[in-house]
Symmetry: C2
Subunit: 182 residues, 2 copies
């Protein structure tokens, strides 16, 4: 992060503010972010930051949207290589790589998506990439819930012992044929 | 919560401190808790509170242990009625009933369990109750990850539309036969 006072081009400053917010979120969660603090970290005035984001929520929505685009790209790339299991493993690895990023993406997703179309589109696209060719809607939702839960359990250290990568490889396998109703 | 200065019996004060911490966590997350604040809410001096808990972590570990005992009881009761699907639904409902409680139970679980045997025992017992007669170790872990992820997705409002209870009933069904390796 720059603390110099060199002028930014318009798009560059937006990106620099997102970078600064990203670093603050990873360090202390979204509670650690204020637009003023982000501006300071990017080396510009709060006024300059407000030209790009009306408030903290708008900034976090834009940052989440960026993350969801990266997430979708990671899932898409994994799909080519490994099918459903490949995407599921990529999902969990994405979460473990940067826990602060993953938590930000989902906390407050409903409210932020409702207010920010950019986030709504990016998150829907990522979920479509996760779903891939998974059969029914319910099968896709079950697969999503499974990898999401595995990510959280690993992030919180709830699973006893063993190397995370080994747990992922062992548990995230190709899905079984359609599950009978209950 | 009492704000009177009537004396507590020893066990009563411990329970009252846990109740006060519980209310604070549900309102503002575990970041909102301090032993001093909890003592104030229970109407006693900080010194009196320190007689029961050496620090905030000890208090949160004891509160989490209490929650895991309730969790295990809820899962056990559901088992009698509804088998694996019944336990899974009870898991998700427990999370949705009080999000702050559920988040506390899992955030920092690894570190708190390591330091507090009471929490370790209560959480292990709850996971055993969840597992029930689920076949293999891996099948049990997959079932756990699935309901844990569904709980988080519902808590964060990530699933589009529809009544939560209907989603739970539709997705949490009896597990399929053993999943082929992949």
């Amino acid at each position: 992060m720059s603390t110099s006072n060199r002028p930014y081009h318009h798009g560059d400053l937006r990106a620099a503010l997102l970078d600064a917010a990203d670093a603050l979120v990873e360090k202390g969660g979204d509670g650690a972010v204020s637009l003023r603090e982000v501006a300071r970290a990017a080396g510009v005035s709060a006024t300059a930051a407000y030209r790009h984001f009306t408030d903290k929520e708008a900034l976090l929505a834009a940052l989440s949207a960026r993350h969801f685009r990266d997430f979708g790209a990671a899932l898409g790339a994994a799909d080519t290589a490994g099918g459903m299991a490949g995407r599921g493993r990529a999902y969990v690895r994405f979460a473990l790589a940067r826990p602060g990023r993953f938590r930000l993406m989902f906390s407050g997703l409903r409210a932020r998506s409702a207010a920010h179309p950019e986030l709504r589109e990016a998150s829907c696209a990522a979920f479509e990439a996760l779903r891939g060719a998974a059969g029914s809607e319910d099968a896709a939702l079950r697969a999503w819930a499974f990898v999401h839960g595995l990510a959280h359990l690993l992030l919180d250290g709830a699973l006893q012992g063993g190397d995370e990568e080994a747990v992922i490889a062992r548990l995230v396998t190709e899905p079984p044929p359609a599950r009978g109703g209950g």
